[in-house]
Amino acid sequence: MSALDKILISSIKKGIVTASVDLSKIEALGLELKEMANKHFGRSFNIREMDTGSCGACEAEIIAANNPIYDVSRFGVNFVASPRHADALLVTGPVSKNMALALKKTYAAMPGPKLVITLGNCALDGGIFKGSYYTEGGVSSILPVTTHIPGCPPTPTEILRALVGLLKCFTG
C-alpha cells in the first residue's frame, strides 16, 4: 500500500469526530437534488457565484458545500467559472455601488433561462447594511430574483436544502 493510500484509508475510517452534521441526511438531500438536476437540467445544474459586497462568510459556506463532507458536485451541482455556462447566478452581499455594474454585466452574459438566487440576509434587502449610503439594498432592486436562501450565513446543509427546494419548484 502506498503512503497516499494509507492516508486516504485512514481519513475515510476516521469519519467525523464531532457529530453535529448527520451524514445520512446529507445523502438523502443530495439524492433528491440529483434527481431534480437529472430531470430539469440534463444531469448538471451549473451555478455562477458572485460576491457583491458580502463579508466573506457566505462565500466560505458555499465553498464548504463543496468540501468532501457535503460535496455537492457529486449530486450534479457545479460551481462554474463563467456566467456563460451558468443556469443560475448565486449572489451574496448587499450590492455595493461599486458592484452594481458588474452584477448587471454578469447577468447579461448568462444564457436564458436565467435563475437568480440570493444567499444570505444581506443579499435579500441589504440586511445589516440596510440604509448605508453605498449599498443598493439587495439584489432584487437590480435583478429579478427567483429564490432566496436566508441565514447569516446559511450553513452548507441549509444551502443544500434550499437548492432542493428550488429545483423541485422548477418547471421551466
Binding site: 492516508i7 469526530v17 460576491d51 462565500e59 467559472a81 445589516i128 453605498y134
Partner: protein, 522 residues
C-alpha cells in the same frame, strides 16, 4: 528607556504640548499636538518605537476636525496617539507619508471620507468611493454629509502606467473565476515576470464606519460581526474590548479565557483553510481536500461550543454569552488531539512532496525592509521577520500563558505557509493550556455603568491586528468608530511580493497572504 522618559523628552522639547494617558485606560497615551509639530512628533515616535502607523484617522468634531495617528510601543505595552486639530475652513494638513510610508493609505482614506487634503502626498486617489460611481465633493464621514442624489457613470481611475518596449498589461477582475470576493489586479509584465502589480480594491465597500455612527453599542456589536466574516470573532472582540475599556469594565477572567479559546479556534479553521488553499493553487488536490475536512471539523466544533459555525453571537459587552462547561471542555480535549493527528498527516503530505516545496520555496518573497516600510503585520509580517503579535505583546487574555510569536526570515510563500502550520499547532496547544487555567466563575459582568469616552480595542486576529477605535457620546451612541483590519495594510505587501514572479504564481502568492476584501473595503 522607560516610556515616561520618552514622554519627558517630548515634553521638554515641546513644552506647550499636552501629554497624558486616556482617562479611561492607562495603556493609551495621547499627545495633543498642533498641526505644525504633528509630523515631527509622529516621526519621533515612529523611530523611537520602531512602529509603523498602526492607524491614522480623522473625526468630525463640531467646530473642527481632529486627526489621530497611532503607534504601538511594544516594550511598554502602550499605544501612543498623536492628535492635531484642523480648522474646517482650511481642511488640509502636511502629509507625513513621505517620511513614514505606512501613513500613505490612511492619507488617502482621510481625504476621501472627510475631504481633508494631505498636502504633499503624490497619491491621493480614492480607495473605496470609486470614481466611476461616486461624484466629487461628497464626504461620507462628515457629520453634515448628505448622499448625492445621483450616482453612476462618472470619472475614471488612473492606474500606474508602466511603459516601454514589450511591456503589456494584464487586467484581472473585479469578478474572478472562483468563489471569492471582488478585486481588480492589474499586472504589468515584460515577458513572463511581473514588473508591477496594482491592486485596486473597494468593490465591497458598504460604508460600515458611517453605518456605525448613531448606533447603540449592541447594534454596533452585530455590525462588527459582519465586517469580515471569517474574522467575525476577532472583530467583535476588538469592539467589545474598546467599549469595556471606555466603561472601565473588568470582565471575569473566565470570560477572557473563553474569548481566547474561541479566537484560537477561529485562527485554526482559517489557517488550515489557507494551507489547503496553497495546495489547491499548485494543483495538489489531496492535501487540500484533507485540509477542508479539518476546517469543517472545526466549524462543527464551533457549533457544538457556541451554536454558530463562525462564532457569531458569542461576544457581549462584559464577557461572553456561551460558557465552556465541563462537557464542552471534555469535548475540546477529546477532539483537539484528533484534529492535530489529521493535521500532522496534512503536514507530512506537504513536506514530503518535493515538487510542492519547489513551487513554494523562494516564491513571492517579501523583504523585511519592504514589509516594515509598508507596515505589514500579522502572519505576513511575521513570515518576513517582524515579530509583532498582540497576543504576546499587549493582550491581557494571554497573560501567564507561555507563548512566543512564530517568525521566519525568508518572507516567501513557504515562510507564510510554515508560520500558519506552526501557529495552528500552537493554537491547539494554547487552548489546552487555557482550559487548564479556567476556574468556576461567571462568564460575563452585567453590572456596569455607562460612560462616554473613547478607547482603542485590539485583538491579534488570525490575519493580524484588528483595531477598533471607538468614541461613545452622551446619548450612549457610537460617535466615531475607526476600524483597521490587517488586510488593509497587508495588500501592499502582496503587490511587492509578486514582483519578478510570473503571473501563474500569482494565485499562490495571493493565497499565502489570503487577505480580506470585506475587511479592507469596510
Amino acid at each position: 528607556m522607560e516610556y515616561q522618559t520618552l514622554l519627558e523628552k517630548i515634553q521638554n522639547k515641546h513644552p506647550s504640548i499636552l501629554v497624558g494617558a486616556n482617562e479611561n485606560c492607562d495603556d493609551e497615551i495621547y499627545i495633543k499636538s498642533t498641526p505644525e509639530k504633528f509630523n515631527e512628533l509622529c516621526l519621533a515616535l515612529h523611530e523611537e518605537l520602531h512602529s509603523p502607523v498602526m492607524s491614522m484617522f480623522a473625526q468630525d468634531l463640531e467646530s473642527h476636525f481632529r486627526v489621530y495617528c497611532s503607534f504601538l510601543g511594544i516594550k511598554y505595552k502602550k499605544w501612543f496617539f498623536v492628535t492635531m486639530d484642523i480648522a474646517k475652513d482650511t481642511p488640509q494638513f502636511k502629509s507625513i507619508a513621505k517620511e513614514i510610508y505606512s501613513a500613505n493609505l490612511f492619507d488617502r482614506e482621510i481625504k476621501e471620507l472627510f475631504g481633508i487634503e494631505p498636502l504633499g502626498n503624490p497619491d491621493t486617489r480614492r480607495l473605496r468611493l470609486h470614481d466611476e460611481v461616486w461624484p466629487n465633493g461628497f464626504f461620507p464621514l462628515r457629520k453634515n454629509f448628505v448622499p448625492p442624489k445621483e450616482t453612476g457613470t462618472l470619472g475614471e481611475y488612473k492606474f500606474t502606467k508602466v511603459e516601454g518596449d514589450g511591456i503589456f498589461e494584464v487586467p484581472v477582475g473585479p469578478v474572478h473565476a472562483g468563489i471569492i470576493g471582488p478585486g481588480h489586479f492589474r499586472f504589468s509584465v515584460a515577458g513572463e515576470p511581473i514588473i508591477n502589480l496594482e491592486i485596486r480594491l473597494g468593490f465591497t465597500h458598504r460604508g460600515i464606519e458611517k453605518l456605525m455612527e448613531g448606533k447603540t453599542v449592541e447594534e454596533a456589536l452585530q455590525i462588527s460581526e459582519c465586517v469580515s466574516g471569517d474574522a467575525s470573532f476577532a472583530h467583535s472582540w476588538a469592539l467589545c474590548h474598546a467599549i469595556e475599556k471606555i466603561y472601565g469594565l473588568k470582565i471575569p477572567e473566565r470570560a477572557s479565557y473563553i474569548r481566547a479559546i474561541l479566537l484560537e479556534l477561529e485562527r485554526m479553521y482559517n489557517h488550515v483553510s489557507d494551507i489547503g488553499g496553497i495546495a489547491t493553487d499548485v494543483g495538489f488536490s489531496h492535501p487540500s481536500a484533507l485540509a477542508s475536512i479539518i476546517k469543517e471539523l472545526i466549524h462543527q466544533l464551533n457549533i457544538q461550543l457556541t451554536g454558530h459555525r463562525f462564532l457569531k453571537g458569542v461576544n457581549m459587552i462584559g464577557g461572553v454569552t456561551k460558557d465552556i462547561d465541563e462537557n464542552k471542555k471534555a469535548l475540546l480535549l477529546n477532539v483537539l488531539p484528533i484534529i492535530l493527528r489529521d493535521f500532522n498527516e496534512l503536514k507530512q503530505i506537504l513536506s514530503s512532496s518535493t515538487s510542492f516545496l519547489d513551487r513554494v520555496d523562494t516564491t513571492g518573497m517579501l523583504k523585511k525592509k519592504t514589509a516594515e516600510d509598508f507596515g505589514v503585520l500579522g502572519v505576513a509580517g511575521r513570515a518576513s521577520g517582524i515579530a509583532i503579535d498582540l497576543r504576546k505583546n499587549a493582550h491581557p487574555a494571554y497573560v501567564g500563558v507561555d507563548f512566543s510569536p512564530q517568525t521566519a526570515e525568508t518572507g516567501d510563500v513557504l515562510a507564510r505557509l510554515n508560520i500558519r502550520i506552526q501557529e495552528f499547532e500552537q493554537s491547539a496547544n494554547l487552548i489546552q493550556k487555557i482550559l487548564g487555567k479556567m476556574t468556576p466563575q461567571s462568564i460575563n459582568e452585567k453590572s456596569f455603568s455607562f460612560k462616554e469616552g473613547f478607547a482603542l480595542g485590539y485583538v491579534e486576529g488570525w490575519r493580524g491586528p484588528v483595531l477598533y477605535w471607538i468614541n461613545i457620546n452622551k446619548e450612549r451612541k457610537i460617535e466615531r468608530c475607526k476600524i483597521v483590519d490587517p488586510s488593509f495594510r497587508n495588500w501592499q505587501g502582496l503587490s511587492y511580493a509578486v514582483i519578478e514572479n510570473i503571473i501563474p504564481d500569482f494565485p499562490l502568492c495571493n493565497k499565502s497572504f489570503n487577505l480580506s476584501y470585506a475587511g479592507t473595503d469596510l
